[in-house]
């Protein structure tokens, strides 16, 4: 990036111009898995923001001491530790939500965005910008998760956050929920549509 790297750009760039999901195409796996309903998508987004922000800070603090040949292992250990702690905290203080997300919290470890940000940003920057970078990228991921979750739950189940949105009247007149929306392939197609719209708006992102 040619533009000057300010704290503001570090925080807000990942929302659109440098979005981890639709521009860098990272973290697609969990976008497919948790977006059939809006609520798990929301909580997953928040958890990823928390884990990403704190692991960024920890790695940034350690960045000058980490031996280069084991840096990936060090990053993994830190992320894994944080994810386990988040999981434990959810079990103790937000039990219902932790039941809903079950294995997906543990799978944050394998989210490519985390390793990507740690390796690309936290290893080379001070803690405060790293924290902002973590929050920004986590939020950029969460936004896409929420958009996809919104459309999949609305079209697939006719509900939003569990509340019936599409009126019974429509069903009486032959409207049917699109069962395909609930299946993972439609998440991929929804993401593709978002990328399409996003790139038509931001011409500079288009490749030849």
């Amino acid at each position: 990036m040619a533009e000057k790297v300010t704290n503001k750009s570090v925080l807000f760039n990942p929302f659109s111009k440098n979005n981890p999901v639709v521009v860098q195409i990272l973290g697609i796996c969990s976008v497919l898995a948790v977006t059939a309903k809006l609520e798990p998508a929301l909580v997953m987004g928040i958890s990823v923001i928390a884990v990403l922000a704190f692991s960024n800070v920890v790695i940034s603090l350690l960045r000058n001491t980490i031996p280069t040949n084991i840096r990936i292992i060090v990053q993994l250990v830190v992320v894994a530790g944080l994810v386990v702690i988040v999981d434990q905290l959810l079990k103790a203080y937000a039990y219902e939500v932790s039941l809903q997300l079950s294995v997906f919290i543990g799978l944050i470890i394998t989210n490519c965005i985390l390793m990507g940000r740690l390796e690309a940003f936290a290893m080379a920057n001070k803690p405060w910008p790293s924290f902002l970078d973590g929050v920004g990228n986590g939020a950029g991921y969460a936004i896409i998760l929420i958009i996809v979750g919104f459309f999949r739950e609305l079209l697939g189940s006719g509900t939003l956050l569990g509340y019936q949105v599409i009126p019974q009247w429509c069903y009486d007149h032959g409207y049917v929920n699109n069962g395909l929306m609930i299946l993972p392939p439609m998440a991929l197609i929804t993401v593709a549509c978002i990328i399409w719209v996003h790139r038509s708006i931001n011409k500079d992102l288009q490749e030849d």
């Binding site: 059939a36 040949n69 530790g81 609930i182």
Partner: protein, 233 residues
């Protein structure tokens, strides 16, 4: 100090793992009591859900003590076992994997509107992970009064639908015995019928493997209770 030397690397990773390990162990220890309390309250909530009682979060323990009048463990011959563990603490997941004859079978007795109900825990496998539930039977130990199912990680919108009250409600008034013989209750694809003339309900469309899981869970777990259930018939 040479940060690329092997000694530095080994010491660094050992220290890191010890620090992270300690942090995780401390969190786990510190949070264990509230996690256990959450898990117990959740189990009580699930048991109550099978008899259609849904208390507020704060009232779960009171409601459990009020509605669940007795709990005991039976063996596959239907006899009460004087076991060291309370029915509530029996690990149904472990028991359901043993031979039916060796299982400890917990039973909860409850009184709803003056009528006795028997609540039986069931446990099995869905598509992605374990599924479980509680089946409440009427005083005849045959007809379903209510059922509650849950799961660990079934697909949201598909297999996960078994956790909805609407799914459990389909079991109401179905019977496990036909002419005094244990038949279970089948979960079949909508429009199909089971082969042996047992009572059946429609499975979740798009959740075929989870539905089959519920079917075999009921067969496996409820059949172990058949002597206990027959005692009344």
């Amino acid at each position: 100090m040479n940060k690329q030397s092997n000694t530095y690397t080994v010491i660094y990773i050992i220290l890191l793992v010890v620090v992270v390990g300690t942090a995780m162990a401390l969190t786990a220890l510190a949070l264990k009591p509230s996690q256990k309390a959450n898990a117990d309250a959740d189990k009580m909530k699930q048991i109550l859900a099978s008899i259609k009682i849904t208390p507020e979060k704060a009232d779960i323990i009171d409601a459990f003590n009020q509605y669940v009048t007795d709990q005991y463990v039976v063996d596959s011959k239907g006899q009460k076992v004087e076991s060291a563990v309370k029915a509530f603490d029996v690990n149904v997941a472990e028991e359901s994997k043993k031979d039916a004859a060796d299982r400890l079978l917990p039973v909860y007795e409850s009184t709803v509107d003056g009528a006795k109900k028997y609540i039986i825990p069931v446990y099995g496998a869905g598509l992605w992970g374990p599924i479980w539930g509680y089946v409440a039977l009427n005083d005849d130990r045959n007809t379903v009064y209510g059922a509650y199912f849950s799961h660990q990680g079934e697909t949201p919108g598909l297999g996960a639908e078994i956790a909805k009250p609407e799914f459990g409600a389909k079991f109401v008034d179905k019977q496990f015995f036909k002419d005094g013989e244990f038949k279970s209750i089948a979960v079949v694809k909508a429009g199909n019928k089971p082969l042996n003339g047992e009572d059946y309900i429609d499975g979740v469309s798009g959740g075929t493997i989870t539905s089959k899981g519920v079917d075999s869970m009921l067969r496996n777990c409820m059949s172990a209770y058949q002597e206990f259930l027959k005692n009344k018939q």
